[in-house]
């Protein structure tokens, strides 16, 4: 019931907002219509599809796809020059340099040891991030789904950091975890010596995981919450009548019905975790040592920020990373397809 009334009120707000935005556009739209009718007559519906797709694909092609292909070309060239035309073709040299290891189990034996350290760190980060993010978001969503006083307030509390920029997120936490920070101040009050959290390998790594959970959990909580609210209430009521224990209700009713939403969350968290960069760059800069150096930072520093840039090597690393991400996408598509086949709600 509550679900329905919310849905309509939100539709109304959306429409009135849309209405206002449309006013200046309305005139232009009418003017555009005439030539388009001609296009439609001449090229049919297929032509219109191309027309609708064109602006987005054009911008997308120039600013996303083209760089991607140039990047591929970069990965086959060497030297420090910026423009492709000034660069020397080296074939697969950059790739073989990345894979040049005497012992594949130990990144320290590789020519590009920092790349493999970064890969290892990213792997750990992804595993920790996905499990903890799911756990934290799920618990929060379960709690927010209860019959709470001021529920929208609490929902907002957990959502707030999603709106902050990664730079600000990094800065805020750096300011808390540094020597003169709030955390040390609190511990100092209990008689502990100040600890430089971000200079301790394990704490720094934990901080990167924790901070990105802090920054993004609100978003995933909302997705899970949407799923929770779609679970029919009578299922719970029936369970309560039977006197089923809370944990059992959770594992038998909530979790299975929540699966589709959880899958979306898992994939989104996974992709974001592989790409992690901005907030960590501000927070730890990859340190201490290389313990929070992640792949994106390696690529950024090698290709752009280093005094002697090596765009070719960076490009090769980014192509490898892209491959991993494409595999993840395919997994996502496969999962959502099998979900559709099972005849999920939508």
């Amino acid at each position: 019931m509550a679900e329905i009334s919310r849905q309509t009120s939100q539709n109304r707000t959306g429409q009135s907002l849309g209405e206002i935005a449309m006013v200046p556009v309305r005139l232009a739209m009418g003017v555009i219509d005439a030539p388009l009718r001609w296009v439609q007559k001449k090229f049919g519906l297929g032509g219109m599809a191309v027309f609708f797709l064109l602006p987005n694909m054009l911008i997308f092609g120039i600013f996303v796809l083209l760089p991607f292909f140039i990047n591929f070309a970069y990965s086959m060239t060497g030297g420090t020059a910026l423009f492709l035309s000034d660069r020397t073709f080296v074939g697969a040299d950059q790739y073989s340099r990345l894979f040049d290891c005497s012992n594949y189990a130990n990144p320290n034996t590789c020519a590009e040891d920092t790349f493999w350290t970064a890969v290892g760190n990213t792997g750990w980060f992804v595993i920790l991030q996905v499990t903890l993010m799911i756990a934290v978001s799920l618990i929060t969503a379960l709690i927010l789904n209860r019959d709470l006083m001021a529920r929208s307030f609490w929902r907002a509390v957990f959502f707030f950091p999603v709106l902050l920029s990664p730079v600000v997120v990094g800065l805020i936490w750096k300011w808390i975890l540094q020597r003169q920070g709030l955390l040390n101040f609190g511990l100092f009050g209990f008689g502990f010596d100040p600890h430089v959290w971000l200079n301790d390998r394990n704490w720094a790594f934990a901080a990167t995981v924790g901070v990105s959970i802090w920054a993004h959990m609100g978003f995933y909580t909302l997705i899970i919450l949407a799923g929770l609210q779609a679970i029919p209430k009578d299922l719970y009521e029936a369970a309560e009548m039977d006197g089923t224990r809370a944990m059992r209700v959770f594992s038998r009713i909530t979790l299975p019905l929540l699966m589709p939403n959880l899958l979306v969350v898992i994939v989104l968290v996974l992709i974001r975790a592989v790409q992690i960069f901005d907030e960590v760059y501000v927070l730890t800069g990859g340190g201490p040592g290389t313990s929070t150096l992640f792949v994106t930072q390696y690529i950024y520093e090698t290709g752009f920020a280093a005094q002697l840039r090596n765009p070719g090597l960076a490009a090769a690393a980014s192509i490898l990373m892209g491959l991993v991400l494409v595999v993840l996408t395919l997994v996502q598509l496969g999962l959502s397809r099998s979900r559709d086949k099972k005849g999920a709600r939508k």
Partner: protein, 350 residues
């Protein structure tokens, strides 16, 4: 009052405290502090002087050493509480310090010098907000200009995003054509390419197009967001095709169908995308930093970064300016939070 408390802590089914009630409230209260605390701490820190920022242990509120004007001395002197040799304490003003010995005077009797070991004196402190952290950047730098650039980039990019993304989403959800799956896959695949990875090629393209040092160089690369297309397409898929067919029977053109039927029905998803786009573009940092190196083109986020020097970072300014850039986001949040949070739940993100 007790009824209010009872109401706030209303329990599940009203059958006494269940362990989940305790977990709930502990989680919520801890969450409140963890989520808001850091931003509050940042704001409190932004009012501290450079010296107070470097201090350990830090104070929650900004304090400075109290100063007092003493007859016979040109400058105001620092006030200290000192433990004297006889064990009594007194409030003294420090004239100078030589090594470990501080020469102090009673503010009311400036002639008589008292020597105190520096370990035996603590400064008298008073609260003082370093508002110059805010005012100085405003006077030295063209804040209004940065603000305007930020607004221009944010609004233009969001409008273009809404138009081109919704058009593409319409084509991808409501037309059958060759290459549709391919186009969708292409868009999805790039959903995962972070900007920092294609920076160098993107830079060479923007530079070749003459968009370097141009606000359009910031706007255009960001507007064809795969996320936007994805969200809108998912939402449009739920619009029944019968609506379109009925309109076609009434001789409506495809363009009219798009903006008279599809757009209004997609409004909730468009609104969510609009809000996200505004927040993303407002928060963009790295790319504007690369493209814009003329001060009349700086956005707020870029303007904020100029306080990082080679050898010294002026944290007091950076913190203050960070708070300033956070204000619009917080405002968006305050006024639209209900809408955002329900909107996300309502769109195709399910």
């Amino acid at each position: 009052m007790s009824r209010a408390i009872e109401f706030v802590f209303r329990r599940r089914g009203g059958k006494g405290w269940h362990w989940t009630d305790i977990v709930t409230w502990v989680w919520l209260i801890v969450g409140l502090f963890v989520m808001f605390g850091p931003a509050v701490w940042l704001t409190a820190s932004s009012f501290k002087s450079p010296a107070a920022l470097a201090e350990f242990p830090p104070t929650i509120l900004p304090y400075v050493t109290q100063k007092v004007t003493v007859e016979g001395y040109d400058k105001p002197l620092d006030l200290y509480t000192a433990t004297l040799e006889d064990g009594s304490t007194a409030t003294l003003a420090e004239v100078r310090r030589i090594g470990t010995v501080s020469q102090m005077v009673y503010p009311e009797k400036p002639a008589e010098i008292v020597k105190v070991n520096i370990a035996k004196r603590t400064p008298v402190r008073q609260m003082s907000f370093a508002t110059e952290n805010y005012t100085e950047p405003f006077t030295h730098f063209d804040f209004v200009r940065y603000l305007w650039n930020s607004v221009f980039v944010t609004v233009t990019a969001t409008l273009i995003t809404l138009v081109v993304n919704s058009m593409a989403a319409f084509a991808l959800s409501k037309y059958e054509f060759r290459g549709r799956t391919f186009a969708m896959l292409l868009i999805l695949a790039t959903l995962m390419v972070p900007l920092s990875v294609i920076m160098v090629p993107l830079y060479s393209i923007v530079s070749a197009l003459g968009l370097f040092n141009n606000l359009w160089g910031v706007i255009l690369p960001t507007v064809a967001t795969p996320t936007g297309v994805f969200i809108l397409r998912q939402y449009m898929l739920t619009i029944p095709d019968e609506l379109l067919d009925a309109a076609r029977m009434d001789k409506a053109s495809e363009w009219q169908i798009y903006w008279r039927i599809i757009l209004p029905l997609t409004a909730p998803a468009l609104a969510v995308l609009a809000i996200f786009s505004v927040v993303w573009r407002w928060n963009d940092f790295l790319w504007p930093l690369i493209v814009l190196s003329r001060k009349e083109l700086y956005t707020l986020q870029v303007g904020l970064s100029i306080y990082s020097g080679e050898l010294n970072v002026q944290w007091h300014f950076i913190l203050a300016m960070t708070v300033v850039t956070m204000i619009p986001v917080v405002l968006v949040f305050l006024f639209l939070q209900r809408f955002i949070t329900t909107g996300i739940a309502g769109t195709g993100l399910k």
